[in-house]
């Protein structure tokens, strides 16, 4: 990959890790309090992780799309609007 897009790909990696890893830190959220609308922390925290994860993967999608096009252009194989 050309150096111009290296930073973008690292950013994509960081975003994906940020989307995935928090739910594995079980000891941090396996507790009762504080409750929200009757839900113990354990349950509402994990449900709340879902939209956060969506946010990170969505940003990663746009960064990756731009980086992919730059890489292709740099390799002399410009990307054409094919599907969507």
């Amino acid at each position: 990959m050309p150096s111009s897009s290296k930073g973008s790909w690292i950013l994509v990696g960081v975003l994906l890790v940020a989307a995935a890893v928090p739910c594995l830190a079980v000891p941090l959220y396996a507790k009762e309090d504080p409750t929200l609308a009757g839900f113990p922390f354990y349950f509402w925290f994990q449900l709340a992780l879902i939209p956060c994860s969506v946010l990170f993967t969505t940003i990663a999608y746009f960064v990756a799309k731009a980086a992919f096009r730059r890489d292709r252009a740099a390799a002399g194989r410009p990307w054409k609007e094919g599907g969507q």
Binding site: L16, V17, A19, A20, C23, L24, V26, P27, A30, K31, T35, A37, G38, F39, P40, Y42, F43, Q46, L47, L49, I50, P51, S53, V54, F56, T57, T58, A60, Y61, A64, K65, F68, D71, R72, A75, R77, W79, K80, E81, G82, G83, Q84
Partner: protein, 546 residues
């Protein structure tokens, strides 16, 4: 049995049957006589269709029944389905676009096709194909288990002691499914998935708002469940201490349970996209971009699954009766029966049964593709034409489904559940061949095959040794990590062993100059996209891609 519920159910079932058969004409191709059309729907699905198809694929009727059932039964790790689906999407995002590109470039239909091309090893391809078939078959059988519990609660099963008469409604539902999968291929589940997901969404949203309001709100539900678990643990303190009963809890508060929880989520997420049916869904998309866009949109389903899982607690708080001896899998359909008006209960039943039809169709297509490409064409009839392949795959899709049906009805249900557990352990052992293969050819092909064999054997052996209060063997997915007391998902331990074997053997085989297979792919193949030369946007039977 309520006549209203059954009528609503029958109407919705009829609707998807018509959709299933008319799907053959949807996005019509010149001919269905090849695997790209029948088995991958023409490889032309956009973001919208793919969202429903992949979602329909992953969230199966068995999930809808089994995940809440584990919470209902008081398993502290039952909620792992949520972190599991959170982990799945970054994983898809990272590696499936590469698999899409190389598969489109070379006309690969199955993951085993890719492995054969990348490693130049037909034996490794066969190993991946057989693992896929072994893991998929019990998964299809479990969809039937999901349908069966709904039919049971609806009162559609007669009391006859003859298993054929008793399960006639199940037979009819499955025969209809088999017929339209045969004629329409992957287009049928893709179209029906719209109905399935809409129904499921409506039912769950209504259930999650309406039922708790009837039960005094969520706070009250969690309190009732906690009290019920505390009572159980006090009354059964001796049995729990003796290991004859498992303690119940809302969530894992001890380190051991937390390790189990995280390892189940991670292992299942890694395994999911090794299943042939998930890869079938992904390869049917129109472009690379569709995959990544979907990876950011699909978590909407995760939220649904999380809420659905909690219905297990709702059922417990509602005092749902699940028979004697108790069968927790009846909890959700029985909750619908008890709490909803008859007509809406009919909608809910239809949602679960249609939710079984979609994945069962995709899984049988994926299994048929694997058989046809990697066993039939690779070993039995190398000169098979695309027409021969499509014909073979259609017949195999029928055999696979009826095999699963007989399996569930004639044998005990617990066989299907045990095999499904093993399926997850087995399928993860194909990850080094498929995923690592997408990034590097450093692994030696024989090392990958040896790692696979060791992982399969170890995982099966350990799973066999797990006993539970109700079962002597295959009692659960967890076993202590070697050298510790900490329970870990067996699939993950076997996978680590698999990787160690591959990494140790690769340099040895290279030093011994054992011939490594020829790689049919080049680096640029992994970044091609729709619109590139040689990548046809939407395939039709007149286009020869191989």
């Amino acid at each position: 049995m309520s006549a209203v519920a059954v009528s609503v159910f029958a109407f919705l079932f009829l609707l998807v049957t018509i959709l299933g058969f008319s799907a053959a004409r949807w996005r019509r191709a010149k001919s269905m006589d090849n695997l790209d059309e029948w088995g991958l729907g023409g490889r032309g699905f956009g973001t919208f269709v793919a969202w429903f198809l992949i979602g329909g694929d992953l969230y199966t009727a068995y999930t809808f029944i089994a995940v809440p059932a584990t919470l209902f039964a008081g398993s502290a790790v039952g909620f792992f389905a949520v972190p599991y689906t959170i982990l799945v999407y970054p994983i898809i995002f990272a590696f499936l676009p590469k698999l899409w590109s190389v598969s489109h470039k070379h006309g690969y239909v199955t993951p085993a096709d890719f492995v054969v091309g990348r490693y130049g090893s037909r034996s490794l391809g066969l190993a991946v194909a057989i693992t896929g078939l072994l893991a998929t078959m019990p998964y299809i059988a479990l969809q039937l288990v999901g349908m069966e519990v709904v039919l049971e609660v609806m009162g559609l099963q007669s009391d006859s002691s003859n298993w054929f008469i008793r399960d006639l409604p199940l037979f009819i539902a499955f025969a209809v499914l088999a017929a339209y999968t045969y004629s329409s291929g992957l287009r049928a589940p893709a179209l029906i998935a719209f109905v399935k997901d809409s129904l499921i969404y409506i039912v769950i949203i209504v259930a999650i708002i309406y039922i708790p309001s009837q039960l005094g709100g969520w706070g009250n539900i969690f309190d009732t469940v906690q009290n019920s678990f505390d009572t159980f643990n006090t009354e059964n303190a001796d049995a729990i201490a003796a290991g004859d009963a498992a303690p119940k809890a809302l969530f894992p508060s001890q380190a051991a349970g937390q390790w189990a929880y995280a390892s189940l989520a991670l292992g299942s997420a890694l395994a999911l996209f090794m299943y042939p049916h998930s890869i079938t869904g992904v390869l049917s998309t129109r472009s690379r971009n569709v995959i990544r866009r979907n990876a950011s949109l699909l978590p909407a389903y995760s939220f649904l699954l999380g809420l659905l899982a909690l219905l297990g607690f709702v059922a417990l708080a509602a005092g749902v009766m699940v028979g004697d001896p108790p069968n927790p899998q009846l909890a959700i359909p029985q909750l619908f029966e008890d709490q909803f008006p008859a007509w809406f209960a009919g909608v809910a039943y239809a949602a679960v049964v249609i939710g079984a039809l979609v994945p069962a169709a995709i899984m049988s297509i994926a299994a048929a593709n694997l058989w046809t490409r990697n066993i039939y064409k690779a070993y039995l009839k190398p000169d098979a034409t695309p027409q021969d392949e499509a014909k073979q795959a259609k017949i195999v899709s029928l055999i696979v489904k009826f095999g699963a049906l007989i399996f569930v009805l004639a044998l005990s249900k617990s066989y299907a559940i045990n095999l499904q557990l093993l399926g997850g352990v087995w399928i993860l052992q194909t990850l080094p061949a498929i995923v690592v293969g997408l990034y590097t050819r450093w692994f030696h092909r024989w090392a990958v095959l040896a790692g696979w064999a060791v992982g399969m054997a170890y995982g099966t052996y350990v799973a066999y040794g797990v006993s539970s209060p109700t079962q002597e063997h295959f009692g659960g997915p967890l076993a202590p990590f070697p050298g510790t007391e900490t329970p870990i998902y067996i699939a993950l331990t076997a996978f680590l062993l698999n990787i160690v074997v591959v990494v140790v053997l690769t340099p040895i085989l290279r030093a011994l100059k054992v011939p490594d297979g020829e790689d049919a792919t080049v680096a640029a193949d992994y970044t091609v996209d729709a619109g590139d030369e040689g990548i046809v946007e939407e395939l039709s039977s007149t286009t020869e891609v191989r």
